[in-house]
């Protein structure tokens, strides 16, 4: 491996692909949210890695972006899981293959 940055970026790319595969293939809505969280985390890893090896780390831009992204991801997780619980209360399932009410 030539530079450490490439290693971190490859790990982040693999995490993103795993999260995308989870979000696209699982039937349970909570597992889809878990996949989305993994993708967000992969993006955070990219931000921190570019901050660490970028030209101006003292400006703290990448670090700040990652911290704000963590805060927004926390809000997203709370609302997403609240929606899943609400859907479960209405249709008694979180199986995405069975929730087809929005097909119109």
């Amino acid at each position: 491996m030539a530079t450490p940055l490439v290693g971190y970026l490859l790990v982040a790319a693999l995490l993103f692909a795993i999260g995308l595969a989870g979000a696209l293939t699982r039937r349970n809505a909570i597992l889809v949210l878990i996949g989305i969280e993994l993708m967000l985390n992969a993006a955070n890893l990219n931000l921190i890695a570019f901050w660490r090896y970028g030209p101006h780390p003292e400006a703290l831009t990448g670090m700040m972006f990652a911290i704000f992204s963590i805060a927004v991801a926390a809000a997203e997780a709370a609302v997403g899981l609240g929606l899943v619980i609400s859907i479960h209360r209405h249709v008694q399932t979180v199986d995405l293959d069975q929730i087809t009410r929005m097909k119109g």
Binding site: A17, I18, G19
Partner: protein, 167 residues
């Protein structure tokens, strides 16, 4: 690129793979916690101590617990009787994910020469982060505070139990 990086990276990837592939949802949540802990380790490896500890606090401390609560509250529908845990269109999803990874990996390995090399350890004390948050980033900080309040109230309203006719 020490041995520590590869160990933590393997740990993280294994946790993430287990989180999206296991059948039992509670096991998935535990594997997700392992992946989050590995990511926090990677942040610490990158000399981003504050982000690493924020990751531990927010993800392992809050998001993982929320996921466990959601799994337990929706437990009645767990383990579908008909067939597996993957949706009918799983092959398309897997192909899209593999394609995305192949494209990102190809782009990375192609542009490898242009990426910056070994850099000096950056100094990012909590004091610097605090004064940046209170100075240059004060508007985003306030907006995040507003967003978190709105998300808190919104999540409670969305998940609240409401009976028809009784309000």
């Amino acid at each position: 690129m020490g041995i520590a990086f590869w160990l933590i990276a393997a740990f993280t990837i294994a946790g993430a793979l287990a989180a999206v592939m296991l059948r039992n949802l509670v096991h998935c949540a535990l594997a997700l916690t392992v992946a989050f802990a590995g990511l926090a380790g990677l942040f610490l490896q990158l000399d981003a101590q504050f982000a690493g500890f924020a990751q531990i606090l927010v993800y392992i401390g809050a998001v993982a617990i929320l996921v466990v609560f959601a799994i337990l509250l929706t437990r009645s529908s767990e383990t579908p009787k008909d067939g597996g845990v993957f949706s009918r269109t799983w092959f398309t999803g897997l192909a899209i994910a593999a394609g995305v990874f192949a494209f990102i990996g190809w782009a990375l390995l192609e542009s490898q020469a242009g990426l910056p090399h070994e850099a000096a350890v950056p100094i990012a004390t909590v004091q610097m982060i605090g004064s940046a948050l209170m100075g240059r980033y004060v508007l985003p900080l306030e907006i995040v505070a507003l967003l978190l309040t709105a998300a808190l109230i919104g999540a409670v309203i969305v998940a609240r139990h409401e009976k028809e006719g009784t309000e």
